[in-house]
Amino acid sequence: MQAFIIRRVLALIPTLIFASLIVFVSMRLIPGDVIDQMMAQNDVATSADRARVEASLGLDQPMYIQYFRWVGGILRGDLGNSLWQNTPVTRQLAETLPITFELGLLALIVALTVAIPIGIYSAMRQDTAGDYIARSFSLLMLAIPSFWLGTLVMVFPSVWWRWSPPLEYTPFFENPIANLSHMIVPAILLGLALSAVTMRMTRTMMLEVLRQDYIRTARAKGLAENLVIARHALRNGLIPVVTLIGLQAPLLIGGAVILEQIFVVPGMGLLLLEAVFARDYPVISGIFLVTGVAILLINLLVDLTYGFLDPKVRY
């Protein structure tokens, strides 16, 4: 196990190097006139200021030096300063990342509570009406764009009942109830999108497990069906579902960007959109990089958990 962990962590290095190159190169693709626009928007006009902005973006150095300086900065926890607010990008991320994380976590809880029971039910009653309804629902949820669902939730309750979801953010530790009543609507929408894939996966895995010999043995020895499912089938069937959490992390973050915008959740997604419209490139590249690294770490964690949960897996 220890050797596996070490190997798995070492394997991250080339991916990280390529990922940093992708972020770096994409930021270097900024055309020159954008700097002019940025200057105009940010009210810095003199040529000295222009030189300063270029220097702060590191554009006055040869490419490879720029790259190594940038990476060096990251390793020291320095992602540069926001051009717009002139605060360190790391501080902005520290403020917004937990909010997006909370949204993602809530969505994950919603997704699992919806998907796993329905997935199990679907597998146990394969090819019945209930199974078909569950599967059609999951296919539909894959197709409905979350921004449309979000729009409907905003518009129709307000038209029909004069009620609309709260849009004011309160920090969790200030007032957990106000916080949750704001976050829960986007979390449900995000969770529903996620539940579609999870449901399909749970169903497939349960079907696979239910055909195994040890399930037949358990039934043959007269164990109640509930116990067969709970003790034998679930434990084995749900292990692969864990990997899905890692695979779905990018989807979760992408969906969060849109839902944060609709429900005015001041998370990383909203910060990103503000930065895009303000052409605040240090913030954009910071978010870009941090998201990539976060997803990489989530996947690492999932892989390690998987090896831990399933003793059959020998790396």
């Binding site: 080339p14 991916t15 992708i22 930021m27 409905i144 729009t151 038209v159 978010i287 997803i295």
Partner: protein, 305 residues
């Protein structure tokens, strides 16, 4: 993420000509689709309707998409305006139809470009193997850790928004991701006897790739293309919703659900319905169609997503 080579027989090149006779293989394949996968066939038909609507949008749309009529602002659906009008008095049905055209264009162009990119990268990586493969795959690994939408937003923030940029970015985005799947297929074809035979006869690499490898990975490529059409349509809608897609006044479905229109939805809720319903139906239909194609054409991909 290791794709092991599977020494096994490959699916046929063309849509299985197992029902012999004089019938054209495509006709035979459609019959098989309807018989074995009715839901998939239904999805294909539904998608086709939207495709035709998109192609003919300029002819069948009753009004011009951006024709404003201030006297008829926020009209509820009626006989002259089947889906009502928006805050500038523009006919919603016409806008939805032209929106279908835009969506289809983005979907097909982006998926087409993505497929070409996937094939080129997948062939290089899978057939050449070795260091090339290693390098390309580590790059793809890194590329795939970034959420699609995030990559899109970042790139659009750099290259600007507009139809050509979106097609280009989506094409690259899905192309690089999809190359993994083509590579897997190429690796298993590469180990087939006929490939080795061609190699031992001294055939040139390009010849082998074109005549032996490519035809045999076509089923995978077709399925990949189908799923990417839906994904690209959805992604463009999301971007346009965020105000980063095809800029207004172009009537994109995503754009119609955001921006100015949003404030008026409380007075005219029908504005919120049509674009979303169309988007959902199109994506749903192409998804079930793609699933059915995958089951029929490429048994190895069954159950994967």
């Amino acid at each position: 993420m290791t794709d092991t080579a599977l020494p096994k027989t490959m699916p046929e090149t063309a849509p299985s000509p197992l029902v012999a006779g004089a019938r054209h293989p495509i006709v035979a394949f459609i019959q098989r689709l309807i018989r074995e996968k009715p839901l998939g066939a239904f999805g294909g038909g539904l998608f086709l309707i939207f495709l035709v609507c998109g192609l003919l949008a300029n002819i069948i749309a009753p009004y011009a998409a951006n024709e404003t009529n201030m006297a008829l602002r926020l009209e509820a659906p009626s006989l002259s305006h089947w889906l009502g009008t928006d805050h500038l008095g523009r006919d919603l049905l016409s806008r939805v139809l032209i929106g279908a055209q835009l969506s289809m264009m983005v979907g097909f162009l982006a998926a087409g470009l993505a497929t070409v990119v996937s094939i080129v990268l997948g062939l290089l990586s899978g057939y050449l193997g070795g260091r090339t493969d290693m390098l390309i795959q580590r790059f793809v690994d890194a590329w795939m850790i970034f959420p699609d939408l995030l990559l899109l937003i970042v790139v659009v923030s750099i290259v600007g928004s507009g139809m050509p940029q979106i097609v280009l970015v989506l094409g690259l985005l899905y192309g690089i991701g999809g190359s993994r799947i083509v590579r897997g297929a190429v690796i298993s074809v590469r180990e087939n006897m006929y490939t080795h035979a061609a190699q031992s006869m001294g055939a040139r690499t390009l010849y082998i790739l074109w005549y032996h490898i490519l035809p045999n990975v076509m089923p995978v490529v077709i399925v990949l293309f189908t799923t990417r059409v839906g994904a690209a349509i959805l992604a463009e809608a999301g971007l346009s919703f965020l105000g980063l897609g095809v800029p207004p006044p172009a009537p994109t479905w995503g754009g119609m659900l955001s921006g100015d229109g949003r404030t008026y939805m409380y007075m005219a809720p029908w504005l919120a319905i049509a674009p979303g319903v169309c988007l959902t139906i199109v994506v749903y239909s192409i998804n079930v169609f793609g699933d059915a194609l995958r089951d029929l054409l490429d048994p190895r991909m069954r159950g994967s997503r």
